[in-house]
Structures are given as C-alpha cells and as structure tokens.
C-alpha cells in the first residue's frame, strides 16, 4: 500500500497500479454491486477515471481509488434509479438490542449483506481493515485521518453492522 500518485499519472503507472490494486478495488465494489459483470466494469472504470483525472496532492493510491469507486457506485445506483440499501444514518435506538449470535459459517450471507449496506468511510475502513487486512496505521494513512479517528470510525462501523444484523435477526424471528 505504498503507492502514491502525483499530479500526472501516465498510462504505464496506471497500468502498474491496475495490476497491484485491481482485486482490492473489485472486492470493494463487489460487496455492494450484486452483478459480477457490473462490478468488473466499474472496477475498470475506476482506473480509467483515475488516469483521466488530475490529482494535485499526492494521496494514498488505494485510498484514492476507493474514493473513485465510492463515487462510481453512487452513480451506478443513481442511474439505475434504485436506492442502495444504506442504513448508515439510522438511529441506534431504533434497532433491536437482542445480541447477535450468528457468526457461524452458515450465516455468512447475513454478514455479507450487512456489509454491503454500509457506505462511505465506514465501508472503506471495514473493507481495508478486515477484508484487505491492513493495520490501523495503514488505514489511517489511506483515509487521511489520525489513528484515533480511524479506530473510532471502525468502532462506529462495527456498531452499525451489529445494528443491521440485529434488525435482520429480529425480522427473521
């Protein structure tokens, strides 16, 4: 995760980053876009858009690619006229408070669906931290926040996920 893009990104460099980060970008998209083909198209668009754009200040390459991907996902749902299942601003008090008990392998689909419901920084932190396996320090550097703020984001993201899972569990029961 050491890649940094400066102002002008040439084709060779973009291709190099595509080789390095394509899978990560694809995974970032795939948890939120159900179709594999759409996810692949969007992942390609992320790199093309990065090549076409001008970025003034050097930023973490993956962090920047995630931001582009985030915008493309929003555009994707906007164009389709459908709303993504976003539960990010839900009041925690409204969520059922029964403990979540289903982290066994059989119920992974619930967690996958809940993960797809996150968005923005919460989603980015969860993906980088638990799917891609980056450390808090690396995630903080990528999203341009302090380690403390990143831990707090991670905490809120997991709390939100727990709320979503509780709600699903409640609906099933």
């Amino acid at each position: 995760m050491n890649g940094h893009w400066s102002q002008s990104l040439d084709q060779a460099k973009a291709a190099e980053y595509c080789q390095l980060y394509y899978e990560a970008v694809y995974r970032y998209i795939a948890y939120r876009i159900p179709s594999k083909e759409d996810s692949e198209d969007l992942a390609s668009d992320v790199f093309l858009r990065a090549l076409k754009s001008n970025c003034d200040t050097p930023v973490s390459a993956l962090g920047w690619l995630y931001k582009i991907a985030e915008n493309l996902i929003i555009d994707f749902y906007r164009k389709r006229g459908t709303r993504q299942r976003i539960i990010q601003d839900r009041d925690e008090d409204e969520l059922p408070d029964a403990p979540v008990t289903h982290f066994d392998p059989d119920l992974k689909m619930d967690l996958t669906a809940a993960l797809g419901s996150l968005s923005g920084e919460h989603y980015q932190v969860v993906i980088m931290r638990f799917i891609e396996g980056y450390s808090i320090e690396e995630v903080a550097a990528a999203i341009g926040k302090s380690e403390g703020a990143t831990k707090a984001l991670q905490f809120r993201a997991l709390t939100k996920l727990r709320g979503i899972l509780r709600e699903e569990q409640h609906a099933k029961s």
């Binding site: 002008s8 990104l9 040439d10 084709q11 060779a12 973009a14 291709a15 595509c18 080789q19 394509y22 899978e23 694809y26 995974r27 795939a30 948890y31 594999k36 996810s39 692949e40 992942a43 390609s44 790199f47 093309l48 090549l51 076409k52 001008n54 003034d56 403990p99 979540v100 982290f103 392998p105 992974k108 967690l111 996958t112 993960l115 969860v126 931290r129 638990f130 799917i131 396996g133 808090i136 403390g148 831990k151 707090a152 991670q154 905490f155 809120r156 997991l158 709390t159 996920l161 727990r162 899972l165």
Partner: protein
C-alpha cells in the same frame, strides 16, 4: 481525557488484535470483526483485470486542457490581475498627462478604446466633444510652455468635424442639444485660440484653426 467512544474504540482494537478477552458488548463487535475476516472474498476475473490493464495502456494520451490545469489558470489569473492593476494605474496616472510625456500615448489609447466601446451616435458625438475640449487644454498648456503642438490642434479640429458629422445621424430630440454643445465648444475654442500670443511661423496654423472653429460655431442641425 479520552472520550468514552474513543475509549471503547481503543478497547475494541485491543480485542480485535486478541490482546484482551472478548466479553459482553465489545466481544460482540470483535466477533463481527472476526466474522468479516472470515468472509469469502469475491474473486476478480483475471481476464477482466488484463483487459483493464490493456485499456489503460491503449488509452489515448491524457491531454490536459489548459483551462483544467490549475497551475496555468493560477498564472493566467496572476498575469491578468497584474495587467489589470498596472493598466488601471497607468490609465489613472495618464489622465492629466500632456503631449510629449511618457503616459500621454496611454491616455490617447484609452480614449480610442472608450470610443470603440461607445455605440450610439449621440454618445460618440459627446465623446468627441470631450476629446476636443481636452485637446484644446493640452494645446494651451503646451503653448504656455512655449511649445506649439500642431498634432494636438489638428486632433482637436478632427474631433470637432467627427462630432458634427455624427450629430447629423442623431434623432431629432437630441440633435439640437448636441449642435448647441458643438457651437458652444467651437466658440470657446475660437476665443481661446484668438488670445494666444503666437510666433509668426505658427500664426497661419492657429489662424486656420480659429477660422474653422468660428465657422463651426454657427453650425446648425441639418434637416
């Protein structure tokens, strides 16, 4: 002092890293984190990745339009500002300049620019009258210093002629007013020039100008 959320966030991080036993609420969150770590990873199609790389390499060169380049825009804005400030200052400073001075050409250029920007015949005629009056003052100021400026005098007469010519195209309501202004100015010019003490070699030039001014003084609207 650490806020409660930050404390919980730190605590959670310790539990995720396995440095503390999971229990109760944080244990639940750490369990979710563990569940996330064990989620199946969507696999990208290797062919799609290669296609993307190929697309990037074949993409036409990234032509940066000048108006999208912030550095160029910043330079352009700085140069524009510099010229505007310097130009504005020069125009302002040239207002009272006299023939032969460094800023006098700036004053004449500014007059030309103002004339171009004036569209209506009456506006143009009025502007010529202003210029003509200005030329008279410049001529007299030069005269007082013992210098005859034939170009300034001929410019004054030319401005008068153009004002008269334009006045004919002005609608009735304003035409008489413009002619009255021309008459008044020509009269003033004739009188002022008549009072000059001239060198013999310059007399003919000024006399001709006086004669023209006095003839203009009696000009009347052409119906």
């Amino acid at each position: 002092m650490q806020n409660p959320e930050q404390h919980l966030a730190d605590e959670l991080e310790r539990r995720i890293n396995g440095t503390q036993n999971s229990e109760h609420e944080l244990g639940e969150l750490a369990g979710i984190a563990q569940g996330l770590k064990n989620l199946p990873r969507p696999e990208a199609n290797a062919h799609a990745k290669e296609n993307c790389t190929k697309q990037l390499l074949e993409h036409s060169p990234n032509v940066v339009r000048w108006y999208k380049n912030k550095q160029i825009l910043a330079w352009a804005a700085a140069i524009f500002l510099m010229f505007t400030i310097a130009g504005g200052g020069a125009v302002s400073a040239s207002r009272d300049s006299m023939p032969g001075e460094v800023l006098y050409p700036v004053k004449r250029l500014y007059e030309d620019a103002q004339m171009i920007l004036t569209v209506s015949p009456s506006g143009k005629a009025e502007r010529y009258l202003i210029i003509s009056e200005r030329r008279l003052k410049e001529f007299m100021a030069s005269m007082n210093l013992g210098v005859i400026q034939p170009e300034v005098l001929s410019s004054m007469l030319e401005a008068n002629r153009r004002a008269i010519s334009l006045a004919g195209d002005i609608p009735d309501s304003k035409r008489e007013l413009i002619f009255a202004e021309i008459s008044s100015l020509c009269s003033l010019q004739g009188t002022t020039l008549s009072q000059c003490c001239l060198m013999p070699e310059d007399t003919a030039l000024v006399r001709a100008a006086i004669a023209e001014c006095l003839s203009c003084q009696n000009c009347v609207p052409v119906h």
